[in-house]
Symmetry: D2
């Protein structure tokens, strides 16, 4: 069976594992106060052209989202995101469990619009009963989105401008950042994300690490006592250097970016194959996730050889499914799938 | 100036105040453990035909909502309500601040539909990643709604059935219950509400009391340690008998129901006057709140003599406004308004 | 029976009730945005010589405590108080339920010592693993304390100095402030409390009001969005003017201070009677609460005519009980008790 | 330099790393729903003689503590532990941040006494104002404790009996369980812990894993929806099999128990050396942590060659320090230290 159901079903890129093995018998101070974390942070700050950023390493994505939002908001403030946003749809109310309301907007193709953010901000600012509603204070977006789509540099610039005009923090969830940066026609760089947002995170778990997400805080207001929040929320790894080693491996000479490039090129081959076959794409994704609407009979054929992720039933005979490449996908696997699609 | 902007701008019904004055020098045990609270609870249980209910007296509505929901839900569970629901739109994220997500449905005329509740329940039950989403566990509705509309007995019965089929609690916010029960064509009684819901509250603040809401818990699962929650949330009035005295006055011989009857009949006179003048109603409200869409020039005329509540701008020349009667509204005030409407 | 068990078992001082009755039919804007609240706030600011303070009116004490602490602290910060402090011992974990740890010190006679605060501060500041412990950030004291004792002006000045040296807020719970200010040998004024603390509250419920506490915020850092917290925690009274009217009555010509004076003088007569009879005082209280250790046989005699509050068993034949005067206590009641004590 | 400062400064036992490498390219379902987790859980249940237990794998200890306590308690309930308990002293108020109060008892040698638990239970049960205090509902102990000491089987049996008599859950933090079970004169088995407690966890991070703690829930009341809590608190590792593989390696043939045995025997050699030299032990620890009170001049000599953990200053010339062995400590390192101690 060929696994294209998600991008977190294999262990880690071989370099990562090699580094962890090599350093296994090296003693290190705990809780992320070691040299590997320091070096990884330096490499990340360089990659982001953000020498003054604070970088923290967290084990997982939900943890990172709830941490950043908890550190950014006061209880009467709220986070804003698109309806399909990960924090709103897939994290068991983690943000609300920390005490914060999420305000949602419908968006388009999984992306919130600057105009939607503007409207929510103005509704609050012009309210005559402000204390009866929450103050929108942080905008959460994903790059890429849940649908695999990307904000353009223009989109991001507009969103950033609206946020800062209204005193909101912009927080970018980069769980799949590597694949986003290598997206087809993408014009956004990691430096852009660092400079346009107030805080973002660089996803490791889905991009070649065993586990780990690197939070990059560029806005000084969000920096104080972040490690207190980490400890309090159970998000401070005792052997923090395990995260440092992995991120260092990824950022010391650009491996993080290469991984995305390869996986996206593979995903685009799948996309092309579906298009040529006349199979409808559920979203026009330029990244490693391809959502397609397929006849159940076709799906049945593919399912003998491939794992994909079932999203939802579309009609009596069609389903929305995801094919997803990753750092672990081989070109041979794609060759085979492309051939099988063409023969459906 | 004549005050028709809301139903909580005057003190209390004269009987209430008289009772408070008469009993001012009587000593009482604190925290709601007095005879007045006991007697009021008995009268309420009789009115509701719910001899086994637990009755608690709370100072205000937001407090009551957050208390009931906190006592009913575990952290991974969520409350369901219509988009415009009070807990979702007007309480500064109080429910989320207690750690709970709210799932919303669009509804119609301010009312959630049984089919919407069903869909949310089934979505959860059929999810293959249940632990990544919250379990809908409590449905919150208002009677009357934020738009002054009412659920019919059939509506309520269907909603109650769907809730109980899926193991949800049904919670009815009766901040304006008195006006709802006297609504035009209303076929729902307070006994119906008690028997169809698991917990509801009888609003006092907007219905003739100085302040106070009476929570009626009929489902045994929701009864344990409710007073612990009250104390912990700062909702246990030291001089609890002040609430007991007021609710006793309201329920010992039906004053609560009379108050609503008069105010609704006044509101319907206003409604009729607007309709006869051809002025559009924003919602077809059978209760004490009348929302109308008026020309700004007409509004300007009325605003010389009347306070109303401005809701929102509809277009360049029209606004949505609320005229609201209460236990304190006089027939003379209505005579005057009806005349002024007819002369617009 | 004569009620000396607590200071919240009667309604309100007659002036309070009279004012509420007189203004019952006056229409007012809701949520504390009325002229009575404004005027009461002005009178309180004058009494405190704090023209720049923010004043908010809250229904009850637990609510006030959890509100102030929630508005003052970030999640990783903690409140410091004496072991017997009300927030630690009598509020069902209300502060912890808002997410905050309480750090306690043993204290003496119900009072925390400046040196204890200093130690807790220094322990944190010198910790090499600061992120593994909470940052003490607010010191909570009561004036008078749970044992009826009082901080001297020197005590308060030292505590205030330690707090401000270490960046802590000083919060004074004045639930019985009126009785504290009139305490025997007390050298602290309400202006002192306002100038030495960052936020405090003036208790109404136990000092002649039907209900109500007035929060006085003098530190600018604690002022922003306090009303948001009030609404979110269910602590914003719809008919806020009820609080404004009551506090106005108390502060417009000094009634608040007179009430305390009388009740304390009565309590001191009780104290003297016990001392003359050789009955041990459990604490040397200069205020309206007198704690005594009595033979159970004596207690049995008094209990035929008086309500007192039972505190705890001391030994096989002795109990600790409280006799408590209030604004409602009459001199005749005290005459009688003094006589009965002398005849034990 | 020889590292004896803590038991989490090296990577993982070689078998663990080998297993992770071997299985790196195997695809697995996410979120702990894989075969490795299943197999590890079976092995753990066998080791505990608890076929009906639920086993969950968590990344770290603080996370595990806050999760278990959140799943066990309602907001008005509290956790009980010894003053020096990890949840009370070293986790940045994580439990309080989840909304729960911790009630503490002084204990002895780091251990809470059954009689202390009894007193706290009875105080609540006999309180006449129960709703003003929290209900103690869970007792948290560590095996071994923060001071390296151990509860005897008799201790545990008494504590368990008191807990269950009063309806409390008993929760055992086994972050260093491996070292506890191999403690000198220890008469407690892992089966005992499983049968006497309601939930406990088996520490991996400090006992040879890269990271990971295994929660074992034996009380059915604590089982429902634990995975919801995990996801909501950010404690569900995407690549959950990484935990399954590691714990499987430890429990498939008893490696977990061997690790502890060796480390404890090494620690006891250190203890013996200190005793023979007449150096005072700060606690009489039978496990891998040895706390000693040393002259600063002696300490200075040892610090040229050894890392230890500095605990606190005892007097002008003495300090309390910890020497700690682990799965990674070699016998040669101990030989050297024993020699150096003897030559002090």
């Amino acid at each position: 069976m060929i696994r294209l159901n998600n991008d977190y079903c294999f262990g880690a890129h071989e370099n990562i594992l090699k580094a962890l093995c090599q350093l296994n018998n090296e003693a290190n101070p705990g809780y992320g106060l070691d040299e590997h974390c320091k070096e990884a942070a330096e490499n990340i700050k360089n990659a982001c052209a953000s020498p003054n950023a604070d970088v923290h390493f967290i084990v997982g994505g939900t943890q990172t989202n709830l941490l950043v939002i908890s550190a950014a908001l006061r209880p009467y403030q709220s986070a804003v995101c698109v309806q399909s946003g990960h924090i709103n749809a897939h994290e068991t109310g983690a943000v609300e469990n920390c005490g914060f309301k999420i305000l949602t907007a419908p968006g388009e193709e999984g992306k919130i619009k600057a105009s939607e953010i503007e409207k929510i901000a103005v509704d609050y600012e012009t309210s005559v009963v402000q204390e009866h509603i929450t103050e929108p204070k942080l905008v959460y977006i994903s790059f890429p989105t849940e649908l695999g789509t990307l904000y353009s540099k223009k989109d991001l610039t507009q969103i950033s401008a609206v946020c800062h005009k209204h005193g909101h923090y912009l927080f970018v969830d980069g769980a799949r950042l590597s694949y986003g940066l290598s997206g087809e026609n993408n014009d956004v760089t990691i430096e852009d994300i660092a400079s346009l947002s107030d805080v973002f995170f660089i996803g490791g778990t889905k991009c070649g690490l065993l586990f780990g997400e690197a939070v990059v805080i560029t806005n000084d207001e969000l920096k104080p006592c972040f490690r207190h929040y980490m400890k309090q929320k159970g998000a401070m790894l005792a052997k923090g250097w395990l995260l440092g080693i992995q991120f260092n491996e990824m950022f010391k000479d650009g491996l993080y970016f290469e991984i995305g490039k390869k996986a996206v090129s593979q995903a685009l081959r799948i996309k092309k194959a579906f298009k040529e076959k006349g199979i409808t794409l559920a979203s026009d994704s330029p990244t490693n996730q391809q959502f397609v609407i397929m006849k159940d009979s076709d799906l049945e054929k593919l399912s003998r050889k491939y794992f994909y992720e079932y999203e939802e039933r579309v009609d009596e005979n069609h389903s929305n499914v995801r094919f997803c490449t990753s750092w672990a996908t081989t070109d041979e696997e794609i060759d085979e799938l492309v051939k099988d699609i063409s023969e459906l």
